[in-house]
Protein backbone atom coordinates (compact mmCIF):
# COMPACT_ATOMS: atom_id res chain seq x y z
CA UNK A 1 0.00 0.00 0.00
CA UNK A 2 1.11 3.52 -0.72
CA UNK A 3 1.86 5.88 2.12
CA UNK A 4 2.50 9.59 1.93
CA UNK A 5 4.35 11.44 4.64
CA UNK A 6 4.74 15.17 5.08
CA UNK A 7 7.10 17.06 7.31
CA UNK A 8 6.98 18.99 9.51
CA UNK A 9 3.48 18.54 10.89
CA UNK A 10 3.31 22.22 11.83
CA UNK A 11 5.55 25.25 11.70
CA UNK A 12 5.49 28.72 13.20
CA UNK A 13 7.82 31.04 11.31
CA UNK A 14 8.65 34.72 11.20
CA UNK A 15 7.96 36.92 8.20
CA UNK A 16 11.06 37.05 6.03
CA UNK A 17 12.44 33.73 7.20
CA UNK A 18 13.08 30.78 4.86
CA UNK A 19 10.87 27.70 4.63
CA UNK A 20 11.24 24.15 3.45
CA UNK A 21 8.42 21.61 3.50
CA UNK A 22 8.84 18.01 2.47
CA UNK A 23 6.75 15.17 1.13
CA UNK A 24 7.69 11.53 0.61
CA UNK A 25 5.61 8.79 -0.95
CA UNK A 26 6.38 5.13 -0.45
CA UNK A 27 5.03 2.13 -2.27
CA UNK A 28 4.49 3.76 -5.65
CA UNK A 29 7.07 4.21 -8.36
CA UNK A 30 6.99 7.29 -10.60
CA UNK A 31 3.95 8.93 -9.04
CA UNK A 32 2.64 12.28 -10.18
CA UNK A 33 3.15 14.67 -7.27
CA UNK A 34 1.36 17.88 -6.35
CA UNK A 35 1.53 20.72 -3.85
CA UNK A 36 -1.64 22.49 -2.72
CA UNK A 37 -2.31 25.40 -0.42
CA UNK A 38 -5.50 25.84 1.58
CA UNK A 39 -6.42 28.91 3.58
CA UNK A 40 -8.48 28.32 6.71
CA UNK A 41 -12.01 27.58 5.54
CA UNK A 42 -10.93 27.90 1.92
CA UNK A 43 -10.70 25.79 -1.18
CA UNK A 44 -7.71 23.90 -2.52
CA UNK A 45 -5.30 25.88 -4.66
CA UNK A 46 -2.83 23.84 -6.64
CA UNK A 47 0.67 25.30 -6.53
CA UNK A 48 2.91 22.87 -8.42
CA UNK A 49 2.89 19.48 -10.01
CA UNK A 50 5.59 17.10 -11.14
CA UNK A 51 5.31 14.01 -13.31
CA UNK A 52 8.96 13.01 -13.19
CA UNK A 53 12.18 13.57 -11.27
CA UNK A 54 13.74 16.96 -11.89
CA UNK A 55 10.68 18.42 -13.63
CA UNK A 56 8.27 20.73 -11.83
CA UNK A 57 5.49 22.83 -13.32
CA UNK A 58 4.25 25.95 -11.57
CA UNK A 59 0.51 26.55 -11.50
CA UNK A 60 0.30 29.82 -9.55
CA UNK A 61 2.89 32.34 -8.50
CA UNK A 62 2.98 32.74 -4.74
CA UNK A 63 6.71 33.43 -4.20
CA UNK A 64 7.24 29.72 -3.61
CA UNK A 65 9.33 27.17 -5.43
CA UNK A 66 9.28 23.40 -5.63
CA UNK A 67 11.73 20.69 -6.51
CA UNK A 68 11.65 16.95 -7.03
CA UNK A 69 15.12 15.65 -6.19
CA UNK A 70 14.09 11.99 -6.05
CA UNK A 71 11.29 9.92 -7.53
CA UNK A 72 9.57 9.69 -4.15
CA UNK A 73 10.28 13.17 -2.80
CA UNK A 74 8.77 16.61 -3.39
CA UNK A 75 10.03 19.76 -1.68
CA UNK A 76 8.31 23.15 -1.31
CA UNK A 77 10.38 26.13 -0.30
CA UNK A 78 10.84 29.86 -0.20
CA UNK A 79 13.68 32.11 0.87
CA UNK A 80 11.42 34.76 2.37
CA UNK A 81 8.06 34.06 3.97
CA UNK A 82 5.12 36.46 3.75
CA UNK A 83 2.14 36.69 6.08
CA UNK A 84 -0.01 35.47 3.20
CA UNK A 85 1.86 32.16 3.16
CA UNK A 86 0.06 31.04 6.30
CA UNK A 87 -2.23 28.09 5.73
CA UNK A 88 -2.42 24.36 5.24
CA UNK A 89 0.03 22.85 2.75
CA UNK A 90 -0.94 19.56 1.22
CA UNK A 91 1.10 17.16 -0.84
CA UNK A 92 -0.80 14.74 -3.06
CA UNK A 93 -0.04 12.00 -5.52
CA UNK A 94 -1.85 10.40 -8.41
CA UNK A 95 -1.14 7.29 -10.44
CA UNK A 96 -1.03 7.00 -14.20
CA UNK A 97 -1.48 9.54 -16.94
CA UNK A 98 -3.32 12.76 -16.24
CA UNK A 99 -4.44 14.10 -12.88
CA UNK A 100 -7.10 11.54 -12.19
CA UNK A 101 -7.79 10.64 -8.61
CA UNK A 102 -5.52 12.32 -6.13
CA UNK A 103 -4.51 11.11 -2.68
CA UNK A 104 -3.52 13.68 -0.13
CA UNK A 105 -0.92 13.55 2.59
CA UNK A 106 -1.68 14.64 6.17
CA UNK A 107 -0.58 18.21 5.50
CA UNK A 108 1.63 20.82 7.16
CA UNK A 109 0.02 23.68 9.01
CA UNK A 110 2.07 26.85 8.61
CA UNK A 111 1.65 30.00 10.67
CA UNK A 112 3.64 33.05 9.65
CA UNK A 113 3.90 35.81 12.26
Amino acid sequence: AQTIHQWPVAEIKAVGSPLSLGCTIKGKSSPNLYWYWQATGGTLQQLFYSITVGQVESVVQLNLSASRPKDDQFILSTEKLLLSHSGFYLCAWSPGLGGGEQYFGPGTRLTVL
Binding site: Y34, L44, S94, G100, E101, Q102, P106, G107
Partner: protein, 112 residues
Protein backbone atom coordinates in the same frame (compact mmCIF):
# COMPACT_ATOMS: atom_id res chain seq x y z
CA UNK B 1 -8.28 28.87 -14.87
CA UNK B 2 -11.66 27.37 -15.70
CA UNK B 3 -14.22 27.58 -12.94
CA UNK B 4 -16.08 24.90 -11.09
CA UNK B 5 -19.04 26.36 -9.24
CA UNK B 6 -20.25 24.60 -6.13
CA UNK B 7 -23.47 25.10 -4.16
CA UNK B 8 -24.75 25.48 -1.58
CA UNK B 9 -21.95 26.95 0.49
CA UNK B 10 -23.43 25.30 3.57
CA UNK B 11 -26.09 22.67 4.07
CA UNK B 12 -27.82 21.35 7.17
CA UNK B 13 -29.87 18.15 7.14
CA UNK B 14 -31.32 15.81 9.72
CA UNK B 15 -30.03 12.34 10.26
CA UNK B 16 -31.61 9.96 7.75
CA UNK B 17 -32.30 12.61 5.09
CA UNK B 18 -30.62 12.80 1.69
CA UNK B 19 -28.09 15.59 1.34
CA UNK B 20 -27.65 16.98 -2.19
CA UNK B 21 -24.53 18.91 -3.15
CA UNK B 22 -24.22 20.51 -6.56
CA UNK B 23 -21.46 21.49 -8.97
CA UNK B 24 -21.31 22.94 -12.46
CA UNK B 25 -18.47 23.54 -14.87
CA UNK B 26 -17.74 25.39 -18.08
CA UNK B 27 -14.93 23.57 -19.84
CA UNK B 28 -16.27 20.81 -22.08
CA UNK B 29 -12.83 19.14 -22.11
CA UNK B 30 -13.20 18.17 -18.46
CA UNK B 31 -13.50 14.40 -18.27
CA UNK B 32 -12.93 13.44 -14.66
CA UNK B 33 -15.16 14.58 -11.80
CA UNK B 34 -14.22 13.56 -8.25
CA UNK B 35 -15.71 14.46 -4.91
CA UNK B 36 -13.52 14.79 -1.82
CA UNK B 37 -14.50 15.18 1.79
CA UNK B 38 -12.48 16.90 4.47
CA UNK B 39 -13.07 16.59 8.19
CA UNK B 40 -11.93 19.46 10.46
CA UNK B 41 -8.18 19.46 10.95
CA UNK B 42 -7.63 16.69 8.41
CA UNK B 43 -6.60 16.53 4.78
CA UNK B 44 -9.09 15.91 1.94
CA UNK B 45 -9.86 12.33 1.00
CA UNK B 46 -11.21 11.03 -2.28
CA UNK B 47 -14.81 9.92 -1.81
CA UNK B 48 -16.16 8.99 -5.23
CA UNK B 49 -15.56 9.99 -8.85
CA UNK B 50 -17.18 9.71 -12.28
CA UNK B 51 -16.19 10.00 -15.93
CA UNK B 52 -18.62 11.29 -18.61
CA UNK B 53 -19.14 7.82 -20.10
CA UNK B 54 -21.58 7.29 -17.23
CA UNK B 55 -24.36 9.48 -15.87
CA UNK B 56 -24.47 7.81 -12.48
CA UNK B 57 -21.98 6.29 -10.08
CA UNK B 58 -22.88 4.67 -6.78
CA UNK B 59 -20.77 3.66 -3.82
CA UNK B 60 -22.83 2.69 -0.81
CA UNK B 61 -24.78 5.72 0.40
CA UNK B 62 -22.93 8.05 -2.00
CA UNK B 63 -24.13 8.63 -5.57
CA UNK B 64 -22.88 10.99 -8.25
CA UNK B 65 -25.40 12.12 -10.87
CA UNK B 66 -23.82 13.57 -14.00
CA UNK B 67 -25.52 15.66 -16.71
CA UNK B 68 -23.11 16.23 -19.59
CA UNK B 69 -25.52 18.38 -21.62
CA UNK B 70 -26.05 20.83 -18.76
CA UNK B 71 -22.47 20.49 -17.47
CA UNK B 72 -23.64 19.69 -13.98
CA UNK B 73 -22.91 16.97 -11.49
CA UNK B 74 -24.17 16.36 -7.99
CA UNK B 75 -23.39 14.26 -4.97
CA UNK B 76 -26.29 12.62 -3.15
CA UNK B 77 -25.67 11.29 0.34
CA UNK B 78 -28.49 8.98 1.29
CA UNK B 79 -29.45 8.26 4.90
CA UNK B 80 -27.13 11.02 6.12
CA UNK B 81 -25.31 10.35 9.38
CA UNK B 82 -23.76 12.80 11.87
CA UNK B 83 -20.40 11.28 10.93
CA UNK B 84 -20.91 12.62 7.39
CA UNK B 85 -20.56 16.17 8.72
CA UNK B 86 -17.60 17.61 6.82
CA UNK B 87 -16.66 19.94 3.99
CA UNK B 88 -17.18 18.43 0.55
CA UNK B 89 -15.24 19.59 -2.50
CA UNK B 90 -16.07 18.77 -6.08
CA UNK B 91 -13.37 18.99 -8.74
CA UNK B 92 -12.94 18.62 -12.47
CA UNK B 93 -9.98 18.04 -14.74
CA UNK B 94 -9.40 17.57 -18.47
CA UNK B 95 -7.99 14.32 -19.78
CA UNK B 96 -4.22 14.09 -19.53
CA UNK B 97 -4.10 17.32 -17.56
CA UNK B 98 -2.50 17.57 -14.16
CA UNK B 99 -4.31 20.71 -13.03
CA UNK B 100 -7.70 19.93 -11.53
CA UNK B 101 -10.00 22.77 -10.63
CA UNK B 102 -11.70 22.56 -7.24
CA UNK B 103 -15.00 24.05 -6.17
CA UNK B 104 -15.13 26.30 -3.12
CA UNK B 105 -16.64 23.57 -0.96
CA UNK B 106 -19.92 22.80 0.81
CA UNK B 107 -19.96 22.59 4.58
CA UNK B 108 -22.39 19.82 5.50
CA UNK B 109 -23.83 19.46 8.98
CA UNK B 110 -25.97 16.44 9.81
CA UNK B 111 -28.02 16.85 12.97
CA UNK B 112 -28.93 13.73 14.98
Amino acid sequence: QQQVRQSPQSLTVWEGETAILNCSYEDSTFDYFPWYHQFPGESPALLIAIRPVSNKKEDGRFTIFFNKREKKFSLHIADSQPGDSATYFCAASPGGNYKPTFGKGTSLVVHP
